[in-house]
């Protein structure tokens, strides 16, 4: 899928501004951004429910049509079903629209563990069950691309874990997934690539682990903290050394393995009681990126 110069204006407000990116087969993409950054509007446009002001997009290398949407599964914001129909009847409607066989209904309801409750009305379901039914509906035609917009919004921790497990299971089968979220650890756990939006513009687009050029940092501890700090500062590898939660945080300016650092420390007569090498979390990187923009 590729998007070229997509723009949407609501009156004076520009929700999506000249957005371009492409999605390769088989990857899991995270669409990140604070609330109101244009994630849902972007998805709405490529899913044919929001009319774009300008710009184009393609599905599977072709001009968009409702036929291409039949090969896409999507869940937008909250599960939308007929409340008075059972799960099975609701999926029948989806299967009719997408041209899927009815036997898929059983398979997908089992995938999300709702087969036992298939005859219950949708309105009697808990939010977690509704969200799982939405995933079953999106999967009914074994789509090539699965789009999930805030799939764990409002769920309890157990529900979040269930949904996340299902997503990982689907990703493992080679389905391309686009996951829009403002929950960064969620994206970090499942995505290989990210697109970061801010006020309708792309801030970053690429693999998760190349998001910032940083080499990560060490968390180190020793009995004599002051001596340790002086020693670290005298070494050429670090940009900055600071105190953090009882340990020292030394930010790398070049690549250095934990093994090498330990060896250097030992040679200098310093015995460490704590040594961890870490990468900045996606959350910190994200905050860093969005802060730079202001």
């Amino acid at each position: 899928m590729e998007i070229n110069n997509l723009t949407k204006k609501f009156g004076r407000l520009t929700a999506v501004n000249d957005l371009s990116f492409s999605v390769e087969k088989g990857n899991v993409y995270g669409l990140l951004g604070p609330n109101g950054s244009g994630k849902s509007t972007t998805l709405g446009m490529i899913l044919n429910v929001v009319n774009p002001t300008s710009g184009t997009w393609k599905w599977f290398g072709k001009e968009p049509s409702n036929e291409s949407l039949k090969k896409v599964g999507a869940i937008i914001e909250r599960p939308n079903f007929y409340p008075y129909l059972s799960a099975e009847k609701n999926l029948e409607i989806v299967a009719q629209i997408k041209g899927a066989d009815y036997f898929k209904i059983e398979e997908k309801l089992k995938l999300v563990s709702l087969w036992e409750r298939r005859n219950d009305k949708f309105s009697s379901y808990s939010l977690g069950m509704k969200q799982r039914l939405a995933i079953a509906a999106a999967m009914i035609n074994d789509p090539e691309v699965l789009i999930l917009d805030e799939p764990t919004n409002g769920l309890d921790p157990q529900g979040i874990i269930q949904i996340r497990e299902i997503i990982q299971q689907i990703a493992a089968q080679g389905t391309t997934i686009i996951l829009a979220s403002h929950l960064l650890d969620e994206v970090e756990k499942v995505c290989s690539h990210v697109v970061i939006l801010e006020k309708g513009k792309t801030l970053y687009y690429g693999p998760v682990d190349e998001m910032t050029a940083s080499y990560g940092f060490f968390e180190v501890g020793a009995a004599d903290k002051l001596a340790l700090k002086n020693l670290l500062e005298s070494l050429p590898y670090f940009e900055k050394v600071m105190e953090l939660n009882g340990h020292l945080k030394a930010i790398l300016k070049e690549d250095l393995s934990a093994e090498s650092l330990n060896k250097i420390m030992f040679e200098k007569g310093m015995v460490l009681n704590h040594l961890v090498k870490r990468k900045e979390s996606l959350e910190n990187q994200f905050l860093e990126l969005t802060r730079n923009n202001y």
Binding site: G44, N66, I76, E92
Partner: protein, 279 residues
């Protein structure tokens, strides 16, 4: 086409309220026929036998029955409006489109529903007229004369249901769609009254205005609908003479044409709204 009907069937039939009201609607159609045939009320000491008044005589029966039964269309209007506004409030319209239904297919499925309801109603009315007529008709007139009223009834239902689709898509809330219907109805009444008053003013006196003359306001949507099948005209002389009091008037074809035009217009406007709006 069949696919769209199947989808609509799931949406409508498995909704308990619509199922019950559809059932009641067709029951009412039959009941109107039964009550007219067998209930003979006594008013002011005079036993009123409408069959003897010529109510069921061919060809007047076609107009009389279609006129009476058309009132029940409000049942189907409620079903159509709630069916569409529910798609908005449950956000299932949005989901249908995301799942790959086109906006054109969505509207087509709703129009098909209208046509199915209108067709079954027409079939029921046709059978009721046929049965009542063959049992009670005392006239020598040809049976099929005036059957065009059944066609007019079909057009009338389709026009009314098209207005319902349009209002439901325009206003997206069922309560407001019904209000819209009332506003349209009252608006047309006010416009008709104004036209009458203007004519009276121009002709210097109410008595100089021919109520059966040409009125532009008759061509407003709901007025067109009521002009399609007008109130059966009565002749008191017939009652005095003990014969039929009903007077056969043929369907006015210009209103059939206008009704078709309006139906197409309202459906086109609905499509335009659906296409233009974001969900």
């Amino acid at each position: 086409m069949l696919k769209l009907l199947k989808i609509e069937w799931n949406k409508i039939y498995y909704y308990k309220a619509t199922r019950i009201f559809t059932f009641i609607y067709f029951l009412i159609l039959i009941l109107i026929g039964v009550i007219l045939a067998f209930i003979k009320p006594t008013i002011g000491g005079v036993k009123l036998d409408i069959a003897k008044l010529g109510m069921f005589n061919f060809p007047e029966i076609w107009q009389n029955i279609t006129y009476l039964v058309a009132i029940a269309k409000i049942f189907i209007a409620v079903i159509i409006i709630t069916n569409i506004t529910n798609e908005y409030s449950n956000r299932t319209l949005k989901q249908n489109l995301i799942d790959g239904l086109s906006k054109k297919e969505f509207l087509t499925s709703k129009i098909l529903t209208n046509v199915v309801f209108a067709s079954f109603s027409t079939l029921f009315v046709f059978l009721i007229c046929l049965v009542l007529g063959s049992v009670f008709s005392t006239s020598e007139g040809a049976m099929w004369k005036g059957i065009e009223y059944v066609g007019a009834y079909f057009l009338k239902l389709n026009l009314f249901f098209s207005i319902c689709i349009f209002l439901a898509i325009l206003l997206r809330k069922s309560a407001f769609a019904f209000l819209g219907l009332i506003v349209l109805w009252m608006g047309e009444a006010v416009i008709s009254l104004c036209e009458f008053l203007i004519k009276a003013w121009m002709n210097k006196g109410f008595e100089n205005v021919d109520p059966n003359g040409f009125f532009l306001s008759h061509y407003l949507p709901l007025n067109t609908s009521s002009k399609l099948i007008e109130i059966p005209s009565l002749e008191v002389s017939g009652f005095v003479l003990g014969g039929s009091i009903f007077n056969f008037t043929p369907v006015k074809w210009e209103f059939c044409m206008v009704a078709i035009l309006y139906s197409v217009l309202f459906l086109f406007l609905s499509y335009y709204l659906l296409k233009k709006r974001d969900l």
